[in-house]
Amino acid sequence: GIQVEQSPPDLILQEGANSTLRCNFSDSVNNLQWFHQNPWGQLINLFYIPSGTKQNGRLSATTVATERYSLLYISSSQTTDSGVYFCAVDNAGGTSYGKLTFGQGTILTVHP
């Protein structure tokens, strides 16, 4: 099956710093999502981004499907950004659904 690798595995920042999280995947995909998992385990949707660039406030994401990677940018980080960030993809081969395959996540800690 498809492989998803996220880097770095851990990231420690001072409040106000910027960061880039990377997601590499081993095959073409129909769907790519970025999630933030809060301390209670809830997965919060950040971006649905199989290709292209999107921005939402301090967060933005870019997926280069032909090169099989996606980047999540966090600018002016805040302590509330702390948590685990997951990239998840599906490659159902052109069908309209796909089970998501998740990476191992990046654990982000933002210190005040």
Partner: protein, 115 residues
């Protein structure tokens, strides 16, 4: 409600017991997914429903796990003869499928502990 809901939020049981975990998807979402997340790992797919039928159950680890969605809305994940290795966070997601668009939205999860 506005989002996916799951009950109970926490479940503690003893080895060998039977448990049921419930998922209520977003209204109008025809697709429903179950995932399992062990500590320190990303979620792993268990089963997918399109309407009432299980379209893909390839992620169920063994025949002690079973899921139903009898009316195409609420789903129940059933685990028989629980083992300590079943302890994990069980996550449910739903989506509305339009063409290739299939953004999945997750519930808060049920944390299962098998003693």
């Amino acid at each position: 409600g506005a989002g996916v809901s799951q009950t109970p939020s926490n479940k503690v049981t003893e080895k060998g017991k039977y448990v049921e975990l419930r998922c209520d998807p977003i209204s109008g979402h025809t697709a429903l997914y179950w995932y399992r997340q062990s500590l320190g790992q990303g979620p792993e797919f268990l089963i997918y429903f399109q309407g009432t039928g299980a379209a893909d159950d390839s992620g169920l680890p063994n025949d002690r796990f079973f899921a139903v969605r009898p009316e195409g809305s609420v789903s129940t994940l059933k685990i028989q003869r629980t083992e300590r290795g079943d302890s994990a966070m069980y996550l449910c997601a739903s989506s509305v499928q339009r063409g290739l668009y299939n953004e999945q939205f997750f519930g808060p999860g049920t944390r299962l502990t098998v003693l």
